[in-house]
Amino acid sequence: MVKKKVPDWLNSSLWSTTAPSANDPPLSRSSEDLSTPTAAPVPVTPPKPQVKDHKESRTSGISNTVNRSNNNNNGNNCNSNVAPTDDNGGSSAGPSPEDISRQAQLLTELSRKVINMRELRRIASQGIPDGAGIRSTVWKLLLGYLPPDRSIWSTELAKKRSQYKNFKDELLMNPSEITRRLEKSTVCDNDEPKSESVGMLSRSEITHGEHPLSLGKTSIWNQFFQDSEIIEQIDRDVKRTHPDMHFFSGDSPLAKSNQDALRNILIVFAKLNQGIRYVQGMNEILAPLFYVFKNDPDEEMTAGAEADTFFCFVELLSGFRDHFCQQLDNSVVGIRSTITKLSLLLKQNDEELWRHLEITTKVNPQFYAFRWITLLLTQEFNFADSLHIWDTLLSDPEGPQETLLRICCAMLILIRRRILAGDFTSILKLLQNYPPTNISHLLYVANKLRSQPSD
């Protein structure tokens, strides 16, 4: 029986994460300048010369974009997406030629009358630059919200946005307003007769047996009170989303309006999907979508950001809904089976590591992979990095779920040395606080896993 060997390229020291080295003064200086609470990705000095140029330009490119987006996060302004050509965060090198070419490619692709989705996916999977609102448009295309045909964009957008507005009007009303509207339709609204200034107040029948203490299942009041629990939960989670980002948290009117938007989206979603309602964690999946769409430099897009985010959120979640449904946990489509798939993937690609995890140290993948998978890796990396990961996740033609599993597998493989050296506690600590790593490396490895011959 041939034991699956770890391929040589995996064993190179290229992949092990190191502490920030002193060889990269320009980049580390700029990270100090920004004083971000989140860790900037670590640039690795590659030892092998043949890959050095490629990697270095890539890392500097990526680190630049990351630093710039960290800048955005802290800058407390939403439309500050700077085109890579202007901004130079301090003393870091300018955008790499790679970056610029990718941006140019994307822009040309986006400006076509009918967009070639395959081509777009191919370019986008290498990473989307942060400037010029490209990411916002590309994500909308990738999620199928915008059709490839540019000419019908405005009509589609208008249709979807008015649909969302209708949802909000219907679903976000409180019962007092609903009863008032019901009455208006049955009885014409006459002024309070001033002549009746003294005397008994006339009693009137209640409509449809609707009163606030009604316990009937169809009563709007009863439904309202039942929903209020979910609404409270949503409220709490929204307030806790990304507390380190000015965009989402704090007392500024900007943060408050963003929180309101998030809340509305989640409430509308919960009411429209009675089967799944709201589960903690959906706010984390929603946050990057809203951030990207709201930061679109195009004014018109920003105005409709809430509606756009709603539909894209529905689309994104459609593939992952089953992970949130508790009843489906043990079924073929539930979270447990997805975690098993991850485990199998790891076994195929790195049996030694798999054995160490599953058998030797008995680290149940549920302990770490659950959060990785359900929250689409938003909690494992800093915000900017997770946006980059989502670029790949959304653009990969294999689909987000397959890609996600590959990335998770790559995450494990990248730190294999540390895992192999650790015991249960240290491995768990490591995996639950995944060490900062170079995202482009991670995505490269994940990509490589795809081309592995499967058995």
């Binding site: 307003e177 008032r180 003294v198 005397g199 008994m200 009693r203 009137s204 209640i206 203490l213």
Partner: protein, 191 residues
Amino acid sequence: MVLVLALGDLHIPHRAADLPPKFKSMLVPGKIQHIICTGNLCIKEVHDYLKTICPDLHITRGEYDEETRYPETKTLTIGQFKLGLCHGHQVIPWGDLDSLAMLQRQLDVDILVTGHTHQFTAYKHEGGVVINPGSSTGAYSSITYDVNPSFVLMDIDGLRVVVYVYELIDGEVKVDKIDFKKTSSTTHSAH
């Protein structure tokens, strides 16, 4: 949309054992924001029970209340409305509209809630509205034995109040409602 429960004259344990079960099943915690109680509970256990329905409880003293420290009258502001509360045995003749109107002017409130007569009434006069939620246990009063259990739930929404009247007639809960709008001229807040 603020829900305010108005009730009173329970007379537990002297004249009634408990609220009717149909009322109790409706009074579920978490729905109501305020409770105003005209008085005559009479014992602390009833006070505690009302507290479980809603922590914000306002009570005035009825003549049979065992807790002597409830105030005689109380005023509170909910939304755009000023509400006044008094048991009503102090206002003579009992249940007389003009005398109650005097009390309302004294307290300077839009809605005055009083009890003691154990009969539901809702009057409107120039100064505002006077509501009597009746007795929520159906206890007999100083005037009559024929009492239907009743209480009142007010939905205060901006300048509009919808008063839902819950009565237990022949074992069935009957709900009616009364609409009342406040003329905006009288709204003013302390500057």
